[in-house]
């Protein structure tokens, strides 16, 4: 079993805006591309009947029928939430899974991973995937090899999914700093924890969709009763507005 750090100096993470995510999957393939190119994310049977590759970030769409009003579709991006009380770490028999004290990122040391799958079983969010050919566990690293690479332009020292998101629905920053942009967003928009009852204390937050389908503007008052006055009356009144 592996221990969690008693204290993190900061807690990096993502804030994902469900009011803005259109479910375009851009973050999914940017993540796949970056992590494949940097340390390999394989695909089994890529052109066959049952293609199955490792993806560290997936987007699901759900149909929701509220008690009142129109049905809705919610697009929901899902990746590791870098929990404070990460059960995937404590369950790991080899110490391969660990949480960094310097920035709170949860990582896997692939050299020590035996592919037992306990961590994937322990994670209530389904955020870990076994690489189908390497048979080691893969997960979101918050693009640790981008965010710490000072040879990249500063604006690119962010996770690939955040850099690529066309609607700007993904935000990256230090959630332990109440003044950070991500913390302010969480505060302003009522950002919430995913499945708080699991006791994992996730670091990533989701911003809820705004209330929908509430068209409330009062109907326009007719200029006058056209049926009574006829078109000529309407025209006079209408053009009388020009002066």
């Amino acid at each position: 079993m592996t221990s969690l750090p008693t204290h993190v100096e900061k807690q990096l993470g993502l804030v994902i805006d469900l009011d803005t995510c259109v479910g375009c999957q851009a973050c999914v393939t940017a993540c796949k591309g970056w992590n494949d190119h940097s340390h390999g994310l394989s695909d089994a049977d890529p052109y066959g009947a049952d293609p199955s590759g490792a993806f560290l970030n997936r987007v699901h769409s759900y149909s929701v029928q509220p008690a009142e009003g129109a049905a809705q579709t919610i697009n929901f991006p899902r990746s590791c939430l870098h929990c404070a009380d990460a059960p995937c770490v404590t369950v790991c028999p080899t110490g391969a899974s660990f949480k960094r004290s310097e920035d709170g990122i949860v990582l896997v040391n692939e050299a020590a991973c035996i592919g037992c799958g306990l961590c994937a079983w322990a994670c209530p969010y389904g955020a870990r995937e076994l690489d189908p050919t390497e048979k080691v566990m893969k997960k979101c690293t918050l693009c640790v090899d981008r965010i710490t690479d000072t040879s990249l332009p500063e604006e690119d020292q962010i996770p690939a999914c955040v850099r690529t998101c066309p609607t700007g629905a993904r935000h990256f920053g230090d959630l332990s700093d109440p003044e950070s942009k991500v913390s302010c967003l969480v505060e302003a928009r009522g950002g919430y924890d995913l499945m708080p009852g699991m006791g994992t204390k996730p670091s990533n937050k989701y911003l809820p969709p705004r209330k929908k389908d509430r068209l409330e503007t009062s109907p326009l008052a007719p200029l006058l009763d056209i049926q009574a006055t006829g078109f000529a009356g309407w025209l006079d009144k209408m053009l009388g507005k020009l002066s």
Binding site: V22, G23, V28, T29, D45, I74, P209, F231
Partner: protein, 913 residues
């Protein structure tokens, strides 16, 4: 560790043309991300763009030229050399050019080099050239040009920074993809309301604050009802209408020119000046056009418009049931439009002078904006529906004002500034001008002297007079039917006509292989594609294209540019990695073929090729004096817009990130059609040869001229059987008429996912893991009524056929509509996939249910399933009957596997490395 190189070029994973940074190690592509400096995507990139690496490495890539050696469709090909391939093509095409150039039909699908391929076809002399716009979104483009000089996407876009209300009509995820998403993100950041009008609530409609789950094909009726409400309440921008539109022109009430504008002795339309009550030139300095004028009994356009839409026929209560939207919601939407346009108006402190010479100290704006593309277009009433949407924007005074809709250079461009179609052929001679254009009156139709169609697709005929993009979906059926005539060679580029790009797919496959007297009815087929698509099996000669990272291209202002409202823009592609196969960029191949055929613009005076390859053409072709394919770095490298050819132009583009922008001057950013600073800049930058100010066409004279002909007026008369549809559809004011088949109860639609581009995505190892399966999505009411359970299949029947396909339940859907993702279903053997791939087993197309022709009416005519104005394929008019077919293993119809042109793809073991 090898150093990473970054090459900046242009994406081609869809039609959006974003800037990309391709990471390379030792020449190998390792990663693709967005280019932050690029005007289209500003650094972001969609799911397709980031997956381009899997397209460049796809096993489906064709490897060498192929010549058919067995029966067509048998897949018996042999690899041949390029010299053999081009010698063979020349031997087929040269005699056609010398005797009957129209016997070559050259159609180029999702081509991004239409100003080049059109130029080639013009030099060959065939009238039979177009790209895919006729089966895509020509209604939106053409209705925009005829109404206001531009439409959405490449023509213009919402003022994302300033708009305070955004209304999105129909499926729009498939065009202008990243810019719309970036725009939506900006609106969401500012807390601006987004309203979606769409039968299906996915994608952009999922984040809409309000959703109108409209009945397909009734968008035009809803829009005209909104116009009714706005007129009824007096909430229209009268000043805007009087100054910038033809609302104050006078319409002849009677006589042989009934419905045309009243003209003066110089044949110019005029207005009544409110200051004097007397006639005055429409463009005279200080003139205040009177919307309420009556002159010799002739009323203004404004009065005709108001009388039309104030009719109770357009009241919300009257249209609600048909549109599937309760009347109070229609009234509330109209009220919200009025509230934002008129009570939340904005103004920029920016002085400008209009074409009348009148000076303005500010730029007032009505911050309501709209967007629509294919969703409302792909109906047989799509042209008039798109026109209605443009009219709604115009009466609110939002077009080209701050916070509204903004043109992108080279637009605005009035219909008069566009060419008319050229189609007259002569053996051995080029056409006298471009094929495609904008018809203004019957004498400009592409008809031969005997009145028969000059073009194989019957574009620009009485059946569809304004078919500005041609009718690619009619090409194969007409060529097979010999209607209007027989052709010899079908030459296609990037168009999967044997599968998802055709209506009535199964029938089209039969047409391609049909024989008469031992000869193929369509005698020869040449096809160029980069990948082993379904169409490959049906060609006689394959000219394998490169992928987009292995080629030169230019995204030209002569064609479909990448401009922004504040800057004209163009861009290039260049080979960031060399091809590892015996393939060539199609445009370079066309130049070689053109030289072999002796096409004059492609032959140097000494008989050698005029252009070495496409890159040479991009830099050195001169379209008209000083104007070439690219506007940047001309002449000595500093000239913009106009200038001599520059042999270092491509290098300059590469150094600039692959693109160029010419910025609109500060005082020219709004009111472009009427703003003289803009007009003069547009001339300087080569979009016009002289300033082209104009009025928006609320009343369309070109349409009225066709309607008049249908009424029996004028020397050129349509065939009698087409008179009713011309009278109805060529209404000079936007109108609505039903377009769907009432005999079937359920609407059936497709939409393209944001992570796939027609059939291309399926060969992509990553994208097919995201969307390798498609289901028929069924709304709750139908799901329950038919007792569907998860795992069931539905049998869908239309007037054209039957399919049996897997279902899934979806709540956020119009209650009488079913839908699926477009082009997921594949033919076994294509695209390098295994025969048991989901796409080839359970995956399906709706195309089998849709015919390019309407059911026979017993009059011997072939009635097109198209818009009668433009000929746009009416994909979204499909109606079906649905039944529960219980559990199944595979979709039907299923077709036998097509023999493989390339081997099946194998494992991608570990990463890119």
């Amino acid at each position: 560790m090898t150093e990473t190189q970054i090459a900046r070029t242009t994406c081609y994973m869809c039609a959006c043309r974003c800037g990309i940074q391709v990471h390379l190690k030792s020449g190998e592509v390792t990663y693709i991300e967005g280019n932050r400096d690029h005007p289209v995507n500003k650094g972001v990139l969609c799911a397709k763009g980031a997956s381009g690496i899997m397209q460049v490495k796809a096993p489906s890539r064709l490897r060498a030229p192929l010549k058919r050696v067995g029966p067509r469709g048998s897949g018996a090909f042999e690899e041949i050399s390029w010299d053999e391939a081009l010698t063979l093509a020349t031997s087929w095409l040269k005699p056609l050019r010398e005797t009957a150039p129209e016997k070559l039909a050259f159609f180029t699908g999702r081509d991004q080099s239409q100003s080049f391929t059109g130029w080639w076809a013009q030099a060959f002399g065939t009238p039979n050239y177009a790209a895919h716009g006729g089966f895509c979104s020509v209604n939106m483009a053409a209705a925009g040009i005829y109404t206001m000089g531009g439409a959405f996407w490449e023509f213009g876009q919402p003022d994302w920074e300033r708009t305070k209300l955004f209304v999105l009509f129909g499926v729009a995820e498939d065009h202008d993809s990243n810019p719309i998403k970036i725009g939506l993100g900006k609106l969401k950041e500012r807390g601006i309301r987004v309203i979606g009008v769409n039968p299906i609530r996915t994608g952009y409609n999922a984040v809409a604050d309000d959703w109108f789950g409209i009945t397909p094909g009734t968008d035009g009726l809803l829009i005209l009802s909104l116009i009714h409400c706005l007129l009824e309440a007096g909430k229209v921008d009268l000043d805007y209408l009087a100054r910038w539109t033809n609302a104050a022109l006078l319409v002849q009430e009677e006589g042989p020119e009934k419905g045309l504008f009243v003209k003066n002795a110089e044949s110019q339309p005029f207005v009544i000046d409110r200051r004097t009550g007397m006639p005055a030139p429409w463009d005279g300095k200080g003139v205040q056009p009177d919307l309420g004028a009556v002159y010799n009994g002739n009323r203004t356009v404004f009065q005709h418009m108001a009388a039309r839409y104030l009719s109770p026929d357009y009241a919300p209560e009257k249209v609600a049931a048909r549109c599937g939207i309760p009347a109070p919601r229609i009234r509330a939407l109209a009220a919200e439009l009025a509230e934002v346009a008129f009570n939340q108006a904005i103004s920029l402190d920016c002085a400008w002078t209009d074409f009348r010479g009148d000076h303005h100290n500010t730029m007032p704006g009505r911050p309501v904006s709209f967007h629509a593309m294919r969703g409302i277009s792909a109906h047989a009433n799509g042209f008039q529906t798109a026109r209605a949407l443009h009219l709604l924007q115009i009466i609110l005074g939002t077009v080209e004002t701050p916070g509204g809709y903004r043109f992108k250079p080279p637009y605005p461009k009035p219909v008069e500034a566009h060419p008319t179609p050229h189609f007259v052929t002569a053996p051995g001679k080029p056409l006298s001008g471009p094929h495609l254009g904008y018809v203004r009156s019957p004498e400009q139709l592409a008809l031969k002297e005997d009145g028969s169609p000059a073009r194989i697709d019957k574009a620009f005929t009485w059946e569809n007079p304004f078919s500005a993009h041609g009718l690619m979906h009619m090409l194969i059926p007409n060529a097979h039917a010999g209607d209007p005539y027989r052709i010899d060679t079908l030459f296609l580029y990037m168009a999967n006509m044997a599968w998802n790009s055709s209506m009535n797919t199964a029938k089209v496959m039969e047409m391609l292989t049909d024989q008469r007297d031992g000869e193929y009815v369509i005698p020869r087929i040449i096809y160029s594609d980069a990948y082993a698509s379904e169409m490959v099996a049906y060609a006689d000669l394959i000219l394998p294209d490169t992928t987009y990272l292995e080629r030169h291209d230019c995204i030209s202002l002569l064609d479909r540019p990448i401009s922004e409202p504040d800057a004209a823009g163009d861009s290039i592609r260049w080979p960031v990695t060399p091809p590892d196969r015996d393939v060539r960029g199609f445009q370079s191949v066309l130049l070689d073929l053109g030289h072999r055929l002796g096409l004059p613009p492609m032959v140097a005076p000494d008989g050698s090729p005029k252009f070495k390859d496409y890159a040479d053409y991009i830099q050195n072709h001169i379209r008209r004096p000083g104007v070439g394919p690219l506007i940047g770095f001309r002449g000595d490298g500093t000239a913009e817009g106009r200038g001599e050819a520059n042999p270092n132009q491509i290098e300059a583009y590469k150094a600039n990130g692959g693109f160029y922008q010419a910025h609109v001057p500060e005082g020219a950013r709004f009111y472009k059609p009427w703003n003289m600073t803009y007009q003069n800049w547009a001339v300087q930058t080569s979009f016009y040869e002289s300033p082209q100010p104009y009025l928006f066409n609320i009343w369309s004279e070109p349409m009225r001229r066709f309607q008049m002909a249908a009424e029996g007026l004028g020397p050129l008369q349509p065939p009698d059987h087409l008179r009713p549809q011309l009278k109805r559809a060529m209404d000079p004011l936007p109108c609505w008429y039903p377009s769907t088949d009432e005999a079937y109860p359920v609407h059936a639609l497709t939409q393209r996912p944001m992570d796939m581009y027609h059939s291309w995505g399926t060969q992509n190892a990553w994208l097919r893991q995201i969307r390798g399966r498609n289901f028929l999505y069924v709304p709750t009411k139908l799901w329950e009524a038919h007792g569907f359970k998860e795992g069931d299949y539905a049998r869908l029947t239309s007037a054209n056929g039957q399919i049996t396909v897997p279902v899934a339940h979806m709540a956020a859907l119009n209650e009488n509509t079913v839908w699926t993702w477009n082009a997921i279903g594949k033919r076994k053997g294509a695209w390098g996939l295994s025969d048991d791939a989901h796409e080839a087993k359970e995956g399906f197309l709706l195309n089998h249910l849709i015919s390019e022709l309407l059911p026979e009416k017993g009059d011997g005519q072939r009635w097109a399933n198209s818009d009668p104005v433009t000929g746009q394929a009416a994909w979204f008019d499909l109606k079906v009957r649905i039944e529960n077919a219980g559990r199944r293993e595979a979709s039907s119809p299923a077709f036998p596997p097509i023999p493989r042109a390339v081997p099946q793809g194998s494992a991608r073991a570990k990463g890119i490395r």
